[in-house]
Symmetry: D2
Subunit: 346 residues, 4 copies
């Protein structure tokens, strides 16, 4: 059993980690921290967790008191900046780190500082850390001490663009990602724009001028194929709880490419990427509560623009599920361990 | 491994059975029938099921061709009337039956005919069948050849009223059940009133004059305590996918009863009934996709009316999950087998 | 043209007043105050109001600077406690007041203090103020200087119970109001429980132990018929934006009463109460964005419990619309002036 | 008063016409037809219309019996093919026609036949008919006998692209329209994919390979600027009732164009197009139940791709409201007559 700690388990990625790890056959939850909720049983905070034997004794503890060094791996489900502040001490004690925030996503500390408005606390650890998208960095993740778990949009968008960009069959300078997210992607926080009465029966774009995930996506796609990647990324808020739907547009530079074949081949061995049959339209609910990314490939009117549809559950493959997938890799477990529950439909 | 068949697996209770049984460690899906979809792989019908190794080979077959007699248990996720037509042949072949429709719920064939507009096909089998609410009939279920799986409303409402009525502390002649259901409770069928544009951002009562589940609830509560049960049952449609919230009202006849204690004691050993602490308000999502029924007990202003709140997921404890729980009992498995996945929140 | 002021126009009742008054043929919006938003055009705060000629010049102003005394009527769309603090000065200047908060709802200052945790600032003005439910107090409203606009739940529940209680055909000591509200009823504020990801696809009761509107309802129903009123009131949060559905239960004491006739007669002359045909189930959307209350009368199985269904839009008949209706009465206008736009369906 | 008839008033565009025309000061509803509902009062079909004096007498009548020739204008809120079958007879009798279906949208009868699978019944009338987008064809609409009212997607997408394409500042050969629609856009019909339990908490693209509105948009944009228009159009279904959000992408060919200025100038005199301030993100609810189209102009990272956001209410500016706007033009009324009610928010 892997001894697991969670720092900051009161948000949506935190409770999703609890949901997944509670039934993970190789994980033992040893500590979960929250300054504000220290002493509270997790099942009091989240009544959905009442009665689970694996969590029966689990209470939030203050980070200072928690025995994180007694864990083999610690997940950070915290705001940006927390993981990097504790990374040196924990890795020094032999603890592996999976950060679900952004501290270990952007390789360039300057870029991190630009977007997250704080200097990076440990550029050396950042340098050795691995970006936790298994479909791109599986081997490195296996060896990593620190994994920067990808953002939800970047997961869907990179998986969607990857085969085309890698194969060099599109113009990388004019990629367009029109992405739609469920509201839980914004986290568990009381903000006016995220209230039911504001977000329900409504649809809107936001941050069209610039979104933090932009750099992360460009970093991931750059260098995997010929040419420099430039991306227009338009995030939208859609009135659903979970789910990301990325609609991706790229200009084909090779007219005779068989996109369907390209995608099927690239992802043939991937346990969590499902390339759907030609003509498909994946819906977000088809991956609800599961770690799968489903992709469909289109080329409308046989023209020179490829349209790729990619869906993930932002809290699973876009956050906690992918983190568990990374843990499995880091500890030599079968990659799907604890992640086999089917999506919840309807 | 129990050899399992499903008749009529294209509705919501059918796909929910597939979701649950696909990861049930002791069940092996051998056959699933649908006249209309014969030959279609289940994962083509429900893309959420794509890639599940347990269902990889599973296709719908015509009922006539399906080897249902080779199964040890057959679930009927069909319209009313189908199970009773096949019950004699299957039980004759030693196959156990769990009917998720109403054929084996009402003990009185005349009452069945009144509500479902068809004569009962096998009153003798009806007589031996067991009503599949484990919290009331666990021992009988263990021995049963045929189980009539309760309706979704009746599950929540009976579990909510049960301890009070059993203990004889309320006036049974004026019970009121004000119940609210998610839209999936109406099944997977194209009806105008169930369309998104009709049911979203809207709330309404329906069938206030009389609902099929009324008799089933009264039958279940009658005789377990003193006095004859009369019930006013008001179902409502609420704009959510899954979930039932029953708000129950009863006039207390014993002023000094400790309701909280009564409920906690009655359900202390129940794996799927959670009596919440005093003052709680269970929300339906706290049981989403799980087999749990959560109950809270109130007595507003210390008056003589008890208010009980009970929530279930209509597709799990209110249908497919309870059916699996019954299967576990019928085959001597631990009751929670395959039903331990935590609720999905948010 | 009536010169109108609004104090505190940044919440949902405030923007709803703006929506209604912008097209009211006899109202001229002269001032709207908000400490926080002073200087901001209302159309910047609420883009839905962009381009309306009647609001083109309207900006929020600081309450201190606003010429409220130059208005003929001032609406208070504020938290509790604000209206009573300004009532003496404004009424002294000849300004009429319609308070959409609770300052002038409860006649007993002690009861006000108990529920709203502050002493009443002007019990004498409270004594002369009129409770603004036109269907009960039309004549008094016409003469009033100060109107306490009813709460949303109390509007639906009182209109629903009124004919039966008035006629003395039910046991007033055991009334039950099971009420369901859309999320906007909680106001425009960032609270965790009101977030989309918490409130969507979910249903729950709240404040079963006691809700502020309880006293208001009991006060309204007490004394209009024989006997003392006791009420169990169970509010629920339902995943829709607007709308209240009250399901009301009362024990009939007169077996042969014709409830349908009773309701139709009582409300025959009411412009905003629609008694639907026997067997109806009003849905909340049938009054969306309109000032109508629709009511249906049931007596399930011909038993001794009456079930009344009443729906209102909590922001219109339950707040801003009723306030405009009251203004019309106070200024001798036809009661329906500015309130004739049909409900928005779908 | 204009004598108005409606053919086929039982769908969403029909009831929306009723909602708008009931309070239109210059329209008098004389006839509404429905084969299936002949004899039914409209307020029985749509309880939201109960109690409206203007509709008090209005019943559906059989098309054969209805005195459509006694009307001055007839709206067709019917399936495709109905309006063209009656157009000759009605126009011959001096009746003007506004078709909300597709019969008079596509100028090329062959293209109509290709998409709608029926030959056009009256190519000569098609030739004289006018495409009812006032922002492009106002003068022609004023003179028209037959107006083909635009589709909902085409309204938002054409208004969004229009200024750029007209000004010749973008590459017309690679336009991309990523559009999201509320479910009411699919009409009032019982289809499985449109059910609440299927469409709620879900997001998906559809018809990526080809959608009927594609030709209509291309036809509208072609010829208004230099170069031939090629469009990729990706429609999506989003879990809301009303609203279309079009996110439009175009490659700028003139680097120094001031897009904000271009749009503001183009639409300065338009009563129903609102160009929002730089940096805005219009939400669909900001136009809910109103005839406004709001547009925001972006150029992310100062790059060469323009991103235009355009929102309409699919049932108003995208259907019934635009039809009324066209009627106003055809009868010499002020264009905004009957269309001034503010959007309904929240």
């Amino acid at each position: 059993m892997i001894r697991v700690g969670i720092v900051g388990g009161t948000g949506y990625t935190g409770v999703e980690l609890l949901r997944l790890l509670a039934v993970h056959p190789q994980a033992e939850l040893r500590a979960i921290t929250s300054r504000k909720e220290a002493g509270t049983p997790v099942a009091e905070m989240f009544p959905s967790l009442r009665g689970l034997p694996q969590l029966a004794e689990l209470k939030y503890s203050d980070a200072a008191q928690a025995d994180l060094k007694g864990c083999e791996v610690v997940f950070f489900a915290t705001p940006h900046g927390v993981a990097m502040a504790q990374a040196r001490e924990l890795t020094g004690a032999g603890v592996k780190i999976i950060d679900l925030a952004a501290d270990f996503r952007l390789k360039d500390p300057a870029e991190f500082e630009q977007w997250y408005k704080m200097p990076h606390a440990c550029p050396d650890l950042l340098a050795e850390s691995v970006y936790g998208l298994p479909e791109m960095h599986r081997d490195a993740i296996r060896q990593a001490r620190i994994v920067g778990n990808p953002g939800c949009y970047p997961t869907a968008i990179q998986l969607g663009f990857l085969p085309m960009v890698e194969a060099g069959v599109v113009d990388p300078a004019h990629l367009i990602a029109d992405a739609k997210s469920g509201v839980s992607g914004a986290g568990r926080k009381a903000e006016l724009g995220l209230m039911f009465s504001e977000a329900a029966d409504n649809f809107r774009a936001y941050n069209v001028g610039g979104h933090r995930h932009h750099s992360e996506i460009v970093q991931g796609l750059n260098g995997i194929g010929p040419g420099h990647v430039t991306l227009v990324f338009t995030p939208h808020l859609t009135p659903m709880i979970r789910g990301i739907h990325a609609t991706l547009y790229a200009r084909l530079t090779k007219a005779d490419v068989d996109l369907q074949q390209l995608y099927e081949t690239r992802y043939a061995a991937e346990p969590f990427v499902d390339v759907m049959p030609p003509g498909s339209h994946p819906d977000t609910r088809s991956v609800r509560a599961s770690n799968v990314c489903r992709i469909a490939v289109h080329r409308p009117q046989g023209g020179d623009i490829a349209v790729i549809l990619a869906v993930v559950d932002n809290l699973v493959k876009g956050a906690a599920g992918q983190a568990v997938q990374n843990m499995n890799l880091m500890f030599g477990l079968p990659e799907e361990t604890g992640l086999t529950a089917p999506p919840v439909v309807p």
